[in-house]
Amino acid sequence: MRYILMPERREAPGDPMPKPPSPSEEGGGPRRPETGSPDKDNLLKRMRKVDPKQAERYRQRTGE
């Protein structure tokens, strides 16, 4: 699997706004994802912090 950075955000010439960073300015662009499993310990730690009741508390209206 090969991941590539999408082409940089394009700018009209001569515009006075600041330019977004190029990959080199950011130090190499996106990291290549690892082929193995993500670190389960860190993710489990994040998951265990979730309030088990939050789905009950999530009361939304139908939108649009």
């Binding site: 082409p7 700018e11 389960k40 088990p52 939050q54 789905a55 999530y58």
Partner: protein
Amino acid sequence: MLNRIFGLETEYGLLLNQDRPEHSPSWVAQRIRDHIFHVDRRGLVDLHHRGHDEPPGNGGFLTNAGRMYIDMGHLEYASPECTTLADLVATDRAGDRILQHAVTALDLEETVSIIKNNIDHETDATFGSHENYLVTRQFPFSRRGLGPLVTFLVTRQVFTGSGRIGCARDPNEWVQVGGLILHRPGLRDAQDRAIVPYQISQRADYIVNDFFEWVQHNRAIVNTRDEPLADPNQFRRIHLLCGDSNMAEYATALKMGATGLVLQLIEAGQAPRGLGIDEPVEALQDISRDPDRRWIVRLESGQSISAVDVQEQFLAAAQRHCKGQDEETDWVLEQWEAVLNDLRGDYAKLVGRIDWASKLWLLETYREAEQAGWDDPMLKSLDLEYHNVHPERGLCYGLEEEGRGPRLTTDKAVNLAQDNPPRNTRAFGRGELVRHLLAGGASEDAADDAVDRADRPACDYIINWSNFKLRGALPFFMADPFKPYVQEVRDHIAGR
């Protein structure tokens, strides 16, 4: 991408992490909106009625030329017009950041979470992620012409779905008793939901038509409302509401990019034919709920075929017709092919790129560690947390932190996109206008009391997607979304 304007409209859920919250989510949403406009000064609230449900002060355009407003009680962010996927992904995530920043600044982090999903598991409420694609007026907007788009949309969920625990109740399960809508007696909800522990799409259960023009009821695979927000003689806006909000940047880019290419195929008469789906609405749900992930659909021809095979036919047509036209097209074609290949194997290969796969992997990881069953209510809470836009809490961001979620943009680009519009669409001109008015103190005037001001004979400004009017000046039209208009806007302001 070639001759395409993209846009996304996201309705956010708002979670109050309190047993007995003092205020409703809608009340908190208003505080967040007010902070964005009047404290962060990221935009200008509207001083005019935009519609029956958008009174003055309900929302407004931002300096990045997108809109933030409240719709049906939900905070909603509409991106500015983008011609590239890179811009779109950056500006989409910028909306998340703008909201989270306001929550943090209001010191609400511990009690309020912004959830970028599309369902409430408990009440079956749904709220949307709407996609916008500008096409030419010559686009074959007929049932026959849109046939390939329906087939594509029904099957694309295999890589665009965000996944969810359970399913929505069948609408037939509800009965009206007096003035109340109640669950039909005798139907056991828990039993029903045990049939679908997990499905790949959030919105599939809520789509009941193939074509329809409304957005709140009778939602359709293809929304047929004709509202181009541009010169109607030249353009049409394809407005889709059947998709899920995506958290992974990769999924957002692939969804919008592949859909854009399929629209191009249809415009050029190059879309694959003979793939009409028998009962597309049912197929949409069947694919989403298929526990074996074989995703078989029945075509009008009587043939059965997998959703992945259908997608491969669209991909092959796009490779023949679109390859090499620009860098982003080639990126989409390459990644579309890679994802379809991976969908034929272990879903874990897709973790980090495709939201339903990421969420399923996380839930399975939790279930294994905690010996939890699919009926454990914690899983619904984890489902929500996948969509939490707080970078240190959201589970999707956890995958990114672990190096498994590929970024297509950078934090620096997202930060820039919070305040700067794309510079190659009319968003640039609109952003310039908002900046100018903000610098002139318009925001403070508006903040005083937008409702009172609306009763005056004329507002200081009226800003819409395709035009604006300043007090004492003629209306300024921006009918071509591909044109930046920035110099024209500056001249208009200077000549007032």
